[in-house]
């Protein structure tokens, strides 16, 4: 494999790492957000029932 082709492997690896992080964190944050909203709605129901 020549130098130019080897360089492209590293470029592809760098962009793959970037998109893995960006997509992974987006999925994580949306999951955290959805669970937080569900727990919040449940807590509000309990709080209203206690009043």
């Amino acid at each position: 494999m020549n130098m130019a082709a080897q360089n492209w492997n590293f470029v592809i690896a760098a962009y793959a790492a970037t998109w893995t992080f960006l997509i992974g964190y987006t999925v994580y944050v949306h999951r955290v957000l959805r669970r937080a909203r569900e727990r919040y709605e449940r807590a509000r129901i309990v709080q209203r029932a206690g009043k």
Partner: protein, 234 residues
């Protein structure tokens, strides 16, 4: 005495999903621009294209930790829980970009320097910065009392953010393997537009991430406060 998150403070998603979609499209556009318009570098060839993700990731790391500094100091001064939650959200996002910066640096370093890692001043100080904020996030996970958690992590956040100028200046203070700071004045004009555009794209992504993480943190705190109120009412 701290000011707690109340039910009225909990926001909806608003137009943030739209902003996230815009940030994503903008990033795809700027990365395409970088690939299509920048010629191979005289010394590094196509490896130069890693600059469009490595340098913005490093800048965004610094910016996120600067936000941690500002909001941690605000929390210590005013005691408002919202400031603590913004600082924590920025710390988590900053730590993510910090890790990405380190990984991209390693991927670039292997073909450019012949090694994945060197105990160079810039690399080592960036690793120390990352470890400080891993400590910050661990502390948040282990301390249950919200006031104590906020005060302790605000102190760690301030100390951690003070490390940012050391990381930035490390290439000047200790001239080792890593090149000097990259900015539009030190980069070939052929690469400046793509570098700037990618930096803005990363900035938009960071804003989106911090805002959504903050929204989740507000909901988590409001849930804790609602549960406490329900327990007191019984």
């Amino acid at each position: 005495m701290t000011s707690s998150v109340m039910e009225r403070d909990v926001p909806g998603a608003g137009r943030w999903p739209l902003f996230g979609a815009f940030a994503l499209c903008f990033l795809i556009g700027t990365q395409t621009l970088g690939f299509l318009t920048s010629p191979p570098d005289r010394d590094m060839g196509d490896l130069q294209k890693i600059m469009y993700v490595h340098v913005p990731a490093a800048w965004i790391t610094f910016l996120a930790f600067f936000l941690v500094l500002v909001y941690s100091l605000r929390y210590l001064w005013k005691g408002q829980e919202r400031d603590d939650l913004i600082a924590a959200s920025a710390a988590e996002v900053g730590a993510g970009f910090n890790l990405l910066t380190l990984l991209l640096g390693m991927i670039w370093g292997r073909p450019a320097w012949g090694v994945w890692w060197a105990w160079d001043a810039r690399l080592t100080s960036t690793l120390v910065l990352f470890l400080i904020f891993v400590g910050y996030l661990s502390l948040r996970a282990f301390v249950d009392d919200p006031d104590r958690r906020a005060r302790w992590t605000a102190a760690v956040g301030v100390l951690g953010a003070i490390n940012v100028p050391i990381v930035y200046m490390s290439v000047k203070w200790w001239r080792t393997l890593h090149q000097m700071q990259s900015d539009p004045s030190t980069v070939d004009p052929a690469y400046v537009l793509s570098l700037r555009a990618n930096a803005f794209a990363f900035l938009f992504v960071m804003i989106y991430f911090i805002r959504r993480r903050y929204e989740a943190a507000l909901l988590e705190r409001a849930t804790e406060n609602a549960a406490e109120a329900a327990a007191l009412a019984q």
